[in-house]
Amino acid sequence: MTSPQPSPTTTTTPPTTTTTTSSRAAQPTTPGRPTDAANGALFDAIATEHATIYGYGLVSAHSTPDVNDLVSTAMAEHRERREEAIAVLEARSVDPPLPAAGYQLPMEVDNPTDAANLAVRMEEDAAVAWRAVLEQAADEKDRSFAVSALSQCAVAAAKWSRVLGISPITVAFPGGSE
């Protein structure tokens, strides 16, 4: 995992579990990862999408106007995918993960090149998460959804790689380690 990671300082909950919740009643409790493999992978993918959407905010802030379309398309795709995946989990009465209060970036992002590098990295990580969903899924609908997600991530990664001037801009196994 190299995508933005939840910042430990802002998300740590007190280690001592108190029975009186009055002082922290407004604080949402983070749902645990489901034990079921298929839902667990989907849960992880949603958490990755939360991080990716957060990261795209920074990418957007540091990008030049000529990649505006790319930023907004990618961001919209991740948001839509996250919402759909959350709906799938909720339909199974599984609590989806909440976004973290903050995230630690895997790299400094100070200029358009950093922004594009972060975007490529986030798309690669999202592809890994969706391939895991594809491998763990128990039904065909989830798998089709994961294939589309994986393909969209690969397309976005290729577009960002082109922005960076990388050659070739595509990889043989998006989300895989073959």
Partner: protein, 170 residues
């Protein structure tokens, strides 16, 4: 056996040994007969393998037809990615079919087409391959589903981004 003997049948030790040997023979014969039907996914994976090889060849031929350098580079990349797909699919076929080598025979030694393939031909082939791999991925599970999904994603990225000139791509 239609009637139940009233007294326990007397079976000699020798008879017992013979029947045990006969059963063992029968068992091994049945096991041998049970082996031949290959797993149903073998054919489907073999079809994917053929596609990967054909696309790789098509992209190489298109690259050899001297398109503008950036396109030629992209076509060469497609050729190598599709041949990496072929390798991974062939490995998976070997894994599921035991030690048997993939059945696909490379019949690419046929007469080359009169006209060299264009980038558009490669794009059309990759679009079909992406659809086929994606559809098959949805019906498979585990590693095989993941591998086919990555192949579909790679083909999609190639035909929607890599093979499309930058100006039109965004």
């Amino acid at each position: 056996m239609l009637h139940v003997p009233s007294s326990p049948p007397t079976v000699s030790r020798r008879q017992m040994l013979f029947s045990a040997a006969a059963l063992a023979l029968l068992g091994s014969a049945a096991a041998a007969c049970g082996e031949p039907p290959p797993p149903p996914e073998v054919d489907e994976l073999a079809a994917q393998l053929d596609r990967a090889r054909a696309d790789s060849q098509l992209a190489s031929d298109a690259a050899a037809a001297t398109p503008p350098p950036p396109t030629a580079q992209a076509l060469t990349a497609v050729a190598s990615e599709r041949s990496a797909h072929a390798q991974a699919l062939s490995d998976e076929l070997v894994r599921i079919a035991g030690t048997k080598a993939p059945t696909a025979t490379p019949t690419t030694t046929t007469v080359p087409p009169a006209k060299a393939p264009t980038t558009e031909d490669v794009i059309a082939a990759l679009r079909q391959s992406a659809d086929a791999a994606g559809q098959l991925a949805a019906t498979q599970s585990g590693y095989r589903a993941g591998l086919l999904g990555s192949i579909a994603a790679s083909c999609t990225a190639a035909y929607t981004v890599a093979l499309v000139p930058p100006k039109a791509a965004q």
